[in-house]
């Protein structure tokens, strides 16, 4: 049998955790090959390694006859392999429409416009997505997202299609359609190999070849029939459990359902009456009603996003329904009603206990918040630890525990206050079959022994079958309610899954996969030049980045209003124009001379004269309050001494709390006294001793206005900060949302990716520059004296450098918040302190000068200040332009070096 991929002794570790443990397996070509097993057994790691997205740590992998340990081999494979990562629409761009998403992928593979359009038409028709090419991917249902994901994987006719849990969280009908779609595509592209990971054993029955995995090892491989035969079991699920190593399944016992003791005449435990929930224009839950008697296990089924979670949140009081009401034991549930909350235990879909607290601390906090009496608290916590077999891990942190144990802990926390009702949102999603059965045994005991009412949502049909009654929800409505047997009998010939598909088909118009679509698309023997391929991929990223940016209000706000707000506040706010200094006088002389001196001080606009001081204590008080900056004391006998040439003393008190203001006030006062002396001497006919006139001329800013110098400098600061942060977010966002997988699994190169993403931000920052420039001229009235062309050109170089810096930071940070704050902190400190914003570079120490000059800001500041205030042009600023261009280049090279094409 031909192999599409061959693994030899492949091991993979994440820190201390072993994901794959010496796996050697050959995956057959030209068929449907599947990996089965619960979450966390290494399926995803194996797929990521085969697709080349993850870096191989140990062992050897051959895919499509290439040893993929070399970058060259991976480059050859990239256009032949398609990879669809785990998670609904994880590799899609939610704000882009269906067509835009596909166009992006088409461009990544260098397809010319007509070919791309034709392929998109064909894929949309084949998947039944043709009616909504313009709907944003984020607004598609789970099933449609997965179909779109599949389309984007198939756009380049791959030889190997790798699908990581493509149907998890998708409703049964969509799931069935998805597999039919794969089957029809395989008929058309007969050579294509498909490798799928799944947690649904029912699905795996239809595959050609399976490998059952657990604990990073392959337990068994072969056709589904082989596996069942090996284990001697009737179903794959049983077979899987039997294949598990002895110690894992030691504690496994089958779940035994016991009949419920019904209590007649009592009010139902949960009663939902016409519940409706609308968010803006979207109706999440539409007129849902049901009654659940006490002690019943009520199952809730439906695809992700169909309104299950919203309904559950309304039942817990977390959300207030737009219409309708919930009654618990006959009493209406009110948001503010603390008593009814004591009756409910809730377990949300994702793990939502505190990861910073240990298992025991989490339970204790719950006991406290649920007001378990102090004397019973310790005993209750201990009882939960024992009951749920959490004793051995009582002091462990939840994050270090396997999913199955964490879910048990959540259930323990939800039942610590002995609630009458349990609301469980997909508690067993991703949990392995053995742990799942253990969890269900616990539920059975709670329901049957303690009469707790359980409201549970699930994706698993065998779990649904265990419920007393189930309801099927779709698109915000309940389609059917009844016992599993009733529903299976009514619509599914005894099969529950069949029944659900039948109910779903009633409401969903059946999609006609158009037959014309079945004509295979013939790639027109193209061999595009390398350059056009590069440009096409680069443009794919630029175009997509721009679209995403335009559709993200928060980033747009930051990009456009951020600079405006900053320039206005800093331009008006940071001012070294010291005026409106409050001034008061204590004139103990009251002579004509003293009054003239006071007049002299009151005459200039910088001083605002306040009421005269009563005494020295008055001065201390007013200066202490901060309502007085400068005080003058003229002692008794001032006029007499002055006339006699006895050099009288004048006391000046300055509020030194703000040194700059004090210094300036001192300068003004000195000038005024000098003036006073000169005029007095002239009038008295005396000669002035010092015969030198000193005149200060302020160059480049005759009016000595703060704004004239600050605005150009602040433009330097803003153009470093905002574009830097914006571009930093650009790359890290993809890491957080998971779309970085597209970069890793397609032929796009690192430089193409980075430059493509940088271009829109350079354009945006150039717009920012012009906005700031015109604000400086218009709003602040700063004169512009130099060469505008030079400033504009060098500004583009500058923002290329600052956006490059942002990308450099984001090429190695992991989260948006780390990238944002790193760029902000690293940019702000040198640009504010060492780039000439306040302290001139010439007056700094050598060390500070070097630090400043190591960032682009210190090279751009002379350009912006020079062209605004000093009338400079290209010849004066050539060097700065060259240095800024080098900065841009160095940042790009550094980013390329720091960005990994493969994940570790």
């Amino acid at each position: 049998m031909a192999l599409v991929a061959q693994l030899d002794g492949v091991s993979h570790r994440y820190g201390a955790v072993t994901a794959l443990d010496g796996v050697s397996v050959g995956i057959p070509a030209g068929c449907m090959a599947g990996l089965i097993g619960p979450d966390g057994v290494g399926k995803s790691t194996l797929l990521a390694l085969v697709s080349g997205v993850r870096k191989l740590q140990a062992g050897r992998i051959t895919v499509l006859d290439q040893d993929i340990s070399t970058a060259a081999a991976r480059r050859i494979n990239a256009p032949r392999v398609a990879y669809m990562p785990q998670g609904l629409g994880r590799n899609l761009y939610p704000t882009l429409s269906v067509r835009e998403n596909l166009e992006f992928f088409g461009r990544l593979f260098g397809q010319p416009a007509e070919e791309r359009a034709a392929r998109i038409e064909m894929l949309l028709a084949a998947t039944g997505l043709s009616p909504f090419p313009d709907r944003p991917a984020g607004k598609l249902s789970g099933g449609m997202k997965q179909k779109l994901s599949l389309c984007s994987a198939l756009i380049h006719d791959p030889d190997l299609l790798i699908l990581d849990e493509p149907t998890t969280g998708v409703d049964p009908l969509s799931r069935r359609q998805f597999w039919e779609l794969i089957a029809s595509i395989r008929q058309r592209m007969t050579g294509m190999s498909v490798l799928v990971a799944t947690a649904y054993m029912e699905e795996a029955e239809g595959f050609d070849w399976l490998a059952a995995m657990d604990g990073g090892r392959v337990l068994a491989q072969g056709s589904p029939a082989d596996l069942r035969r090996q284990a001697g079991a009737d179903t794959l699920e049983d077979a899987f459990i039997r294949l598990l190593p002895e110690e894992v399944r030691a504690g496994h016992q089958p779940v035994v359902m016991r009949p419920r003791q019904s209590v007649d005449g009592a009010a139902p435990a949960i009663e939902a009456r016409n519940l409706t929930m609308r968010f803006d224009d979207f109706t999440a839950v539409d007129n849902v009603s049901f009654e659940i008697p006490e002690g019943e296990i009520f199952g809730f089924l439906g695809s992700n996003g169909c309104g299950k979670t919203t309904t559950m949140k309304m039942l817990t009081g977390l959300l207030v329904p737009t219409e309708g009401e919930t009654r618990l034991f006959g009493e209406p549930l009110l948001n503010s009603d603390m008593q009814s909350r004591m009756r409910i235990g809730y377990m949300s879909q994702a793990f939502s206990l505190y990861s910073e607290l240990t298992v025991r601390q989490n339970l204790l906090l719950h006991a406290q918040l649920y007001a378990v009496p102090t004397e019973r608290r310790a005993a209750r916590v201990q009882a939960m630890l024992d009951d749920f077999e959490l004793g051995p891990v009582a002091d462990a942190m939840p994050e270090s525990l396997p999913l199955g144990i964490r879910q048990r802990l959540q259930l323990a926390a939800a039942t610590i206050h002995e609630p009458r009702i349990l609301i469980l949102d997909e508690p067993t999603s991703g949990v392995d079959p053995v742990a799942r059965d253990a969890f269900w045994r616990k539920l059975v005991s709670l329901s049957r022994d303690q009469g707790v009412t359980i409201f549970i949502s699930t994706h698993f049909m065998n779990e649904a079958a265990r419920c007393d009654r189930i309801s099927l929800m779709h698109a915000g409505r309940v389609l059917a309610v009844g016992t599993p047997e009733e529903l299976a009998a009514a619509r599914g010939n005894g099969n529950l899954e069949q029944a659900f598909v039948a109910y779903l088909e009633d409401v969903e118009k059946p999609q006609e996969a158009t037959e014309t679509a079945a004509t295979s698309f013939e790639a027109a023997g193209r061999s595009p030049s390398r350059l056009s391929g590069t440009l096409s991929r680069l443009w794919a990223y630029s175009w997509r980045e721009s679209l995403e940016l335009v559709r993200d209000p928060i980033r747009l706000f930051f990009a456009f209003l951020g600079p405006v707000i900053l320039l206005i506040t800093i331009g008006f706010g940071i001012s070294f124009d010291v005026d409106k200094l409050t001034f008061a006088v204590l004139d103990q002389d009251q002579s004509p001379e003293s009054r003239r001196l006071v007049e002299q001080f009151s005459s200039i606009r910088q001083f605002e004269t306040g009421p005269d001081l009563a005494d020295m204590a008055d001065m201390s008080r007013r200066m202490g309050q901060g309502s007085l900056t400068l005080a003058m004391e003229i002692p008794d006998g001032f006029g007499r001494k002055l006339r006699q040439g006895d050099q009288p003393e004048v006391g000046l008190w300055i509020d030194g709390a703000m040194p700059f203001r004090a210094d300036t006030a001192r300068g003004y006062a000195l000038g005024l006294l000098q003036n006073f002396s000169t005029t007095f001497a002239e009038e008295e006919g005396q000669t002035v001793p010092s015969g030198v006139a000193i005149e200060t001329r302020f160059q480049f800013n005759q009016a000595f206005k703060s704004a004239n110098a600050m605005v150009p400098s602040v433009i330097m600061l803003i153009l470093a900060l905002i574009p830097g942060v914006m571009s930093a977010v650009g790359v890290v966002r993809e890491k957080e949302t998971g779309t970085i997988a597209n970069f890793r699994s397609t032929p796009v190169g690192r430089t193409e990716f980075l430059l493509g993403k940088q271009l829109p931000y350079i354009a945006l920052a150039t717009i920012n520059f012009w906005m700031l420039f015109f604000m400086g001229i218009g709003l602040f009235g700063v004169p512009f004296t130099g060469s505008l062309a030079t400033l504009a050109a060098i500004s583009v170089l500058y923002v290329t450098a600052t956006t490059g810096f942002g990308q450099f930071i984001s090429s190695f940070t992991r989260t948006q918040v780390a990238a944002v704050f790193s760029v902000a902190v690293i940019t702000i400190i040198p640009t504010v302190n060492f780039s000439g914003l306040i302290v001139p570079v010439s007056s700094m120490g050598k060390g500070a000068q070097i630090v400043g000059l190591a960032f682009p800001g210190a090279w751009y500041q002379p350009v912006s200040v020079g062209t605004f205030a000093k009338g400079l042009g290209w010849p004066d600023l050539r060097l700065n332009a060259v240095v800024l261009a080098i900065f841009g280049l160095v940042y790009l090279v550094a980013s390329v070096a720091a960005l990994r094409k493969q994940e570790a």
Partner: protein
């Protein structure tokens, strides 16, 4: 009673969360020690080592004496340039001041012809050109009077005695150290409080708590309490250790009063951080929103340049929306001027009022945010 107990329990949980977050702890320590120290020492509007050039066209004893008089700490030793060189150098921003000593300076002075010395100041260095020129003018005047009458007979008609209250030598470090402490408090409080709410939303733990018999205000108060305690302790240590001891800044007023006022300020800023976090969905968005807010709050607090130099509308606006101007004025009054409670009560009330408003809005948005 229940409510108080719940708040305290959640506060304990918050404290554990902060302790477990090593990056945050490292950030807090860094900001309150290293950053406070470095910035307090670095950025200064003080006239210190100003780059100066001299054009000496006189080449006399007087001109040499004047040149030699230009010395550190105020000025760097001057560089001698020709007029043409000086013009170029000014354009390149190599010097903040250029002193031009005209030909025949000494001769004209002796002849009583009143020669003119020009000081060319690069006015694009707004923070230093003006005050630097004043100092230079003074220096030259003194030097010339000494030259004319070496015995030091009367030099001026009036003898001026300057006394700088609260900061006798106008050491800018005294000022910037305390202001940097305020900046640190602002930055850390905004990030920490906002992040604590967003992290819970991202992890889904907030919904989990709200299903329990816990009210939203208990959650919000516990966050303010926990973060506030941590930051207040860090700030007090920073004041005592870094500002007082390492930087040697004398503190005039009551430390207790300052700590009390700081506590109110932290509550106000934490409330704003929580409020801002209700407008965003994840930490990335929060980062984008918080950066302009932080810059505006810090730069326009009056801690960088005097509040009264701003346009009136901006002063009023800042005093209405941001607690930072009130805190700066409070801190200056208490720490430098040694004011007591009655003089700063107004600022405390203003900050408390702002935190009440921000909290009320944040609580109002709380449930709305959860459903989105």
């Amino acid at each position: 009673m229940r409510s108080l107990a719940n708040t305290l329990r959640l506060t304990g949980k918050e404290l554990r969360a902060i302790r477990g977050d090593f990056v945050m702890v490292a950030l807090i320590i860094y900001v309150f020690t290293v950053a406070t120290y470095i910035v307090a020492d670095a950025v200064s509007t003080e006239i210190r080592n100003l780059a100066v050039a001299v054009i000496d066209e006189d080449q006399s004893i007087l001109s040499h004496r004047l040149t030699d008089a230009i010395q550190p700490p105020l000025f760097n030793p001057p560089v001698l340039l020709s007029p043409a060189e000086a013009e170029k150098a000014l354009i390149k921003g190599k010097y903040v001041l250029v002193v031009a000593l005209p030909p025949n300076l000494e001769h004209d002075l002796r002849e009583n012809k009143s020669p003119t010395i020009s000081i060319l100041a690069d006015a694009t260095a707004v923070a230093h050109a003006g005050n630097g020129a004043t100092y230079m003018q003074q220096l030259i005047t003194t030097e010339i009077s000494r030259f004319v009458s070496p015995e030091g007979t009367r030099s001026a008609l009036v003898n001026v005695v300057f006394r700088n209250l609260f900061n006798p030598n106008l050491t800018s470090k005294w000022f910037s150290a305390v202001m940097q402490l305020m900046n640190s408090i602002t930055i850390i409080t905004l990030i920490l409080s906002g992040a604590s709410l967003i992290r819970e939303r991202e992890h889904g733990t907030i919904e989990h708590v709200l299903v329990m018999p816990v009210r939203p205000h208990e959650i919000v108060l516990s966050k303010i309490l926990a973060n506030g305690i941590v930051i207040l302790i860090a700030a007090t240590i920073s004041l005592e250790l870094v500002v007082r001891w390492l930087l040697g800044v004398p503190v005039a007023g009551s430390t207790l009063l300052f700590v009390a006022g700081t506590a109110i300020y932290i509550v106000a800023v934490a409330s704003m951080g929580l409020l801002l976090s209700t407008f965003t969905h994840n930490m990335g968005q929060f980062g984008l929103l918080i950066i302009p807010v932080m810059i505006v709050m810090i730069l326009l607090s009056g801690g960088m340049t005097p509040l009264e130099s701003m346009p009136m509308w901006l002063q009023v606006l800042m005093k209405t929306v941001s607690p930072s101007p009130h805190f700066v004025s409070f801190a200056q009054s208490v720490l430098y001027r040694g004011c007591g409670l009655p003089l700063v009560a107004g600022q405390l009330v203003a900050m408390a009022g702002m935190s009440a408003v921000a909290l009320a809005i944040a609580l109002g948005r709380f449930r709305k945010v959860l459903s989105a």
